[in-house]
Symmetry: C2
Subunit: 343 residues, 2 copies
Amino acid sequence: MAAANIKEVARHAGVSLGTVSNVLNRPDTVAPATRQRVLEAITELGYVRNDSARQLRAGQSRTIAIVVLDVANPFFTDVVRGAEQVVEEAGAMLVVCNSGEDSARERRHLELLEEQRVRGVLVTPVRHGSQPDLDRLIDRGIPVVLVDRGSGRASSCSVAVDDVLGGRLAMEHLLDRGHRRIAYLGGPFAIAQVAERHAGAAAALDEHGDNAELRVATTTSLTVAAGRRAAEDLLALPARQRPTAVFCANDLIALGVLQEVTARGMRVPADLAIVGYDDIEFAGAAAVPLSSVRQPRELLGRTAAQLLLEEAEFGGTHQHRHVVFQPELVVRRSSDQQRRTRR
Amino acid sequence: MAAANIKEVARHAGVSLGTVSNVLNRPDTVAPATRQRVLEAITELGYVRNDSARQLRAGQSRTIAIVVLDVANPFFTDVVRGAEQVVEEAGAMLVVCNSGEDSARERRHLELLEEQRVRGVLVTPVRHGSQPDLDRLIDRGIPVVLVDRGSGRASSCSVAVDDVLGGRLAMEHLLDRGHRRIAYLGGPFAIAQVAERHAGAAAALDEHGDNAELRVATTTSLTVAAGRRAAEDLLALPARQRPTAVFCANDLIALGVLQEVTARGMRVPADLAIVGYDDIEFAGAAAVPLSSVRQPRELLGRTAAQLLLEEAEFGGTHQHRHVVFQPELVVRRSSDQQRRTRR
DNA sequence: GTCGCTGGATGAAACGTTTTAGGCGCTATA
DNA sequence: TATAGCGCCTAAAACGTTTCATCCAGCGAC
């Protein structure tokens, strides 16, 4: 009932407190008979180790945290699963924190994690640019790995997918299919991924998009609901100005657009082509199967966790690394139709 | 760099260690001038409270855990978000653990959480029936709330949606649309929800299903992939035995079935009607919009968290409660077609 | 018989907080 | 002038581990 402590176990087994600790942590250094007695006392009293005390003494915990932009986004849940595998193999525990694309919540989480002396943090930051919160952690000696986010930072590892390339692939595809009025939907632009995918798209337009235009519609978040709202705005445009294709910063937005647009009786891709990003599991199963830029999600999580564990273990000699994966465009029906170009 | 502790802060500010603690915890009891000096010392040294020590002293942590069957399932991510709201308002921290429908992992998580002396646990258990792991926690005085899981247990609160009713609604709907060969897809049956939704379906069949039959196909998990596999098996049946409708234990399975079945050229709902469960956000956006049994997901999470906090606060006088919400059938195209009954 | 070694156990220090019992100087009250 | 009360602060104990320096008994080697 009341949590028994190691001292009571010791008394009960007729040994010293240090011996019980040895049974727990270095069982081979204690004589079999004694060990047996101690183990019996443990089960009899229902003793459970007090992790706070252990950590206090150790100065460090065995948990690793991952701070994601949105737990409900299938992209991140897959990243989490990847990280989980690696972390659990290493005997540590992964705690998942949700920033909800909100800097303040992100900071709050990082502070709490710092108080808990976590062994390391995987994080997809809400804003790019200077990140005092992260620097604090790093100064403190807590390893940080940026997830889905490249970085020139010399102070941490990062694992990313080339978002500029991803944006470029999507855009080239749409141009290739004959689209000339194209919209980019995503936001907020403070999120690096949003900005970089746009940059890629813009670059592709510069290079191959003779007389094509890219309209940008900023959303407040990367969710299905935000996608629906963005689609409404799009549909409110006079037909002649309305884009014939949209490239969305992620699949949730794309699915939102798809829902809204088909609900209003437009055909996809004939009236509006759509390309998403992430290739989440639901993209291929959508009303109109969604073209999307695929990222190796679980691999991203696994790699990030590996880098983190490595840094946590060999803090001194550790060399920061920046891993970049290549995205891949998956063309499905939502954009797979040639458009006759009107001149 | 090296984590400064409260003692150094005290020395730096020229006060005693207890005073620093007071500044941190009861700022109003210390004179403004002193408080100021201490706060300056804190920022100057970059002091961050050590949570392990705090907890050790307090005997309890301020974190609450939620153990879900599958972090990647949108149903659970919504439950998590609901719980998160409430927990954060209360100034606590929510950690999300994933059992992955695996009892061993569930146990491992519960053990770790017990070691951490969490303030409480929200859990959707992998198996129903007796749960020694949970009983252990409760014996220890750690409040447990069962989520999405009713219970006759007098030893904990629970928050659930009436799964038997949900199964019944789905089944009555399919019978009403004229189906006579119906399959139930879901598994493993050790998961209470799976068993109860089936029970509801079976009951409805008993009552209204003159000469109709319910075939059960057990899946190994509640995922899209499992749904696809189940659909393959279904399609392997000779046409005359093949069900004309399936009721799936959750939407992920239903989406898997939908994908596989349409890929093989069958029409939904004409050749096969589908009803899912949970009404996740992606259900309505599917290739064929999916009929589904809707559950109040966020509300479930919020309510569970509220009950937990209440129990954690008023442990002594707390009366366990069992909240049950009503599900609601949402009919969409995947099942909305009358079938001419052949006699 | 002495010495050194070894396997096994012990006792105490240390980790960084929070809390409690007091102490000190001052003011208001009797 | 004593006393009580108050505001502010201090010193020390306690939380439950882990670890490290010791200690002890037994034993083989010389």
